[in-house]
């Protein structure tokens, strides 16, 4: 059992509001005295019972419950449950509560991914299974952090708990690779009618941008982030994580300089990447020599923007902040150099393919 399950159970059993809070050193000391482990009696403060469930370097994570209307026996029972949870947690020896369960799920996930079992259902022995039946949005964060101090489970979890109002799971997958599972209703606003009109991909992209901005400015600087459609993790988690990992791998190859990578924007890249390397090189050779154009930074940017803007000359010129005639001049130059007129669909498709092959074969 993890602390969120404990909190949820206490809330259901007593019908009272509960919560989990990470306290600073001062607050910890004020509530629980110098040490957090000697308390056998409930601590009551401002009408709430507080039980420390985890302590690290003088800072406690505590569970609280509103007491109004509860009998002394009910309070003692609730305290007993929370206190025993804290004792069991201490016995795991981990540095953060919840980390043991997260690492258990991580080990299982990594084993499934290694065996390419992308549709495996989470087994009963995974402690967190009970929290994985609702719809959740998965994010994958891969850090390239160069700043000090190094990231810890605790610091990231603290940030995410604040952001997602406690209802979030953080699974450390590999070194500097983290899976974040957030409740779908929180992100979409639940049964808000407006949501039906909103494009779900757009909403996820916005959520991803918001989360990226938060983690970038409040935690680490340089990292890649991806998001996938909401899933019921108990069945769909492995497949979703595989997709996210592939998305970030593709994003690093094809979207250099970008840090948010979305699976639905990388379909063609996925296809090109799945072609064996020798066939890619062969194909690139057969398509024609585009190296003069693709090796020129300005021309490459022009082509990328032109395709991003659906081959619309006016929109591309606007996006590149150049005059329409300058763009037309560049497109004519591309035609002169390669024979391909990217204003026609057929040529545009070939050039786009050449561009992707060129990138994946590392600018041969």
């Amino acid at each position: 059992m993890d602390s969120e399950t404990l909190r949820h159970s206490l809330e259901q059993l007593t019908g009272k509001r509960t919560g989990i809070k990470q306290l600073g050193r001062q607050h910890t000391s004020a509530l629980f005295g110098l040490t957090t482990q000697q308390e056998n009696e409930p601590v009551v403060h401002e009408g709430k019972m507080w039980v420390p469930i985890f302590e690290n370097e003088g800072r406690a994570t505590a569970i609280w419950m509103e007491l109004e209307g509860l009998t002394p026996t009910e309070v003692r029972l609730a305290h007993y449950a929370a206190h025993n949870f804290a004792i069991a947690l201490k016995a795991t020896g981990l540095k953060e509560e919840g980390e043991a369960e997260a690492r258990q799920l991580s080990a299982w996930l990594n084993a499934q991914l290694e065996q390419e079992k992308n549709d495996a259902e989470i087994p009963e022995e995974v402690t967190l299974k009970g929290r994985l039946f609702g719809e959740m949005v998965p994010f994958l964060l891969v850090s390239e952090n160069v700043h000090q101090p190094q990231m810890t489970y605790r610091s990231l979890m603290k940030l995410l708990r604040n952001y997602f109002e406690n209802d979030v799971l953080l699974i450390p997958l590999q070194d500097k690779e983290w899976l974040i599972l957030a409740r779908k209703e929180l992100l979409t606003g639940g049964d808000d009618k407006d949501d039906e009109e909103e494009n779900p991909d757009e909403l996820l992209a916005q959520t991803c941008m918001g989360l990226h901005e938060l983690i970038a400015s409040e935690w680490v600087g340089v990292f890649h982030l991806s998001v996938a459609q909401a899933i019921i993790p108990v069945k769909g988690l492995t497949g979703s994580v595989a997709l996210l990992k592939e998305t970030i791998m593709l994003g690093r190859i094809f979207q250099v300089g970008d840090y948010i990578h979305l699976p639905w924007e990388l379909h063609m890249e996925r296809l090109v990447n799945s072609i064996p390397d020798h066939k890619r090189r062969l194909l690139l050779g057969q398509i024609g020599d585009y190296s003069v154009v693709l090796g020129d930074k300005e021309m490459l940017l022009t082509l990328e923007t032109f395709f991003e803007m659906d081959c619309n000359v006016s929109e591309t010129a606007k996006k590149l902040y150049i005059h329409r005639n300058t763009l037309l001049y560049r497109l004519d130059k591309i035609k002169q150099e390669t024979g391909a007129d990217v204003r026609s669909f057929g040529d545009a498709a070939i050039v786009k393919l050449a561009m992707l092959l060129y990138k994946v074969t590392k600018r041969k």
Partner: protein, 373 residues
């Protein structure tokens, strides 16, 4: 508040054969409003992101105040950044969006409330505090993003094309508001834009970047009047500077610039520089701002050695001024900016004169402004 210093900063992405940003040296003073401007892909956003800590610095040293911050996490740099995409937290209200950073820093509730409401008042979004981002217009979202930065009371504001997603009218309005706001908050601000009008109107100092290199860092006036090279001269100003290819020669002791249908005398001071630097007889590029081509009779009378005749292909009357698109001089089109009440019409061949004291001569090979340095 603090200044920011960049010493020999480089950025090179893995797998790339060329650096995106090369040897950037900048000393940004405390409370200065500095604008980084340049075309797409010039490295301006990458530079800003390195200052923010969102991009690893490949080489060089970055100082905020007196502290080297290369390895300092963004949250510990005491900066606040506003992005083009105004990435708001979609599940939080406007109030919560603005308060969140302070809540993380354990600022007292009363203080958070005071700061959020004050920022909301400054930005005129008090009535939106309970709304979610999806219920806001683009301009309102951008204000919230600004509010989120303001409440943090940072040492340095970093803004990356914050107005790009707004329509032209709102952009003009927000431009003035941001300038006013930054002056009022007395904070150092580094602002990235592709828009030279934005740069010229907002910055105390402008840094023009191209191809990962600083081309010129100067005040708006200096940049406009003394561009260091052909790129800066062409990038700053709208309509852009006219460039005419021609040759310099000396006739009867006077230095003349000759091009197709153009033979004009270069005034004494400038002529001496050209002579001393050995440009007589060489091919050069003359740079000429559209407003330095005149059609007023008084000017023509006073400048008999700079008169030329040209065909007017197109006229654009903007009310307060008229643009004449001229052909036949040099190989391209020359634009003249004349009075809006001008009677010149398309197809006519008026006499015009150049204010030669304002011209620039660029070396054809190095593209540097011969009159500087």
């Amino acid at each position: 508040m603090a200044g920011v210093r960049l010493e020999h900063i480089f950025k090179k992405y893995p797998g790339s054969d060329k650096a995106t940003v090369m040897d950037i040296n900048l000393d940004i003073k405390d409370k200065e409003f500095l604008v980084l401007v340049g075309p797409s892909g010039c490295g301006k956003s990458t530079t800003l992101r390195m200052i923010a800590g969102l991009e690893e610095i490949s080489d060089g040293k970055l100082y905020i105040g007196d502290r080297v911050v290369n390895d300092v996490a963004p949250k510990d740099r005491d900066i606040a950044m506003v992005f083009q995409s105004y990435a708001l937290y979609p599940h939080m209200s406007v109030y919560q969006n603005m308060a969140f950073g302070l809540k993380l820093r354990k600022v007292k509730k009363e203080e958070i409330d005071k700061k959020v409401r004050e920022a909301a008042r400054i930005l005129d979004i008090e009535h939106l505090l309970e709304r979610k981002p999806k219920a806001l217009s683009g301009g309102q979202r951008q204000r919230v993003a600004l509010g989120r930065a303001i409440v943090r009371d940072p040492q340095v504001f970093l803004m990356d094309e914050p107005l790009s997603n707004l329509d032209a009218k709102l952009r003009g309005q927000m431009r003035a508001e941001i300038t006013k706001l930054v002056k009022r908050l007395e904070t150092t601000c580094i602002y990235v834009t592709h828009d030279q009008t934005e740069a010229m109107t907002m910055g105390d100092r402008i840094v023009v970047m191209y191809d990962g290199i600083i081309q010129q860092a100067a005040s708006p006036e200096e940049l406009y009047n003394e561009p260091t090279n052909l790129f800066v001269a062409g990038f700053i100003g709208s309509p852009t500077m006219n460039f005419i290819n021609g040759t310099l020669s000396e006739v009867n002791g006077a230095v003349r610039f000759r091009a197709q249908n153009l033979d004009v005398e270069i005034p004494g001071g400038k002529a001496t520089i050209l002579r001393n630097k050995g440009y007589i007889g060489k091919e050069v590029i003359m740079g000429l701002r559209p407003e330095d081509v005149h059609e007023e009779p008084v000017f023509l009378e006073a400048s008999p050695n700079t008169i030329f005749t040209s065909l007017v292909d197109v006229t654009e009357n903007l009310g307060h001024e008229m643009l004449l698109y001229l052909s036949g001089v040099g190989t391209g089109t020359v634009i003249a900016r004349v009075d809006g009440r001008s009677t010149t019409r398309e197809g006519s061949k008026p006499k015009l004169a150049i204010d030669m004291n304002k011209i620039h001569i660029f070396d054809k090979e190095t593209e540097l402004n011969v009159f500087l340095g």
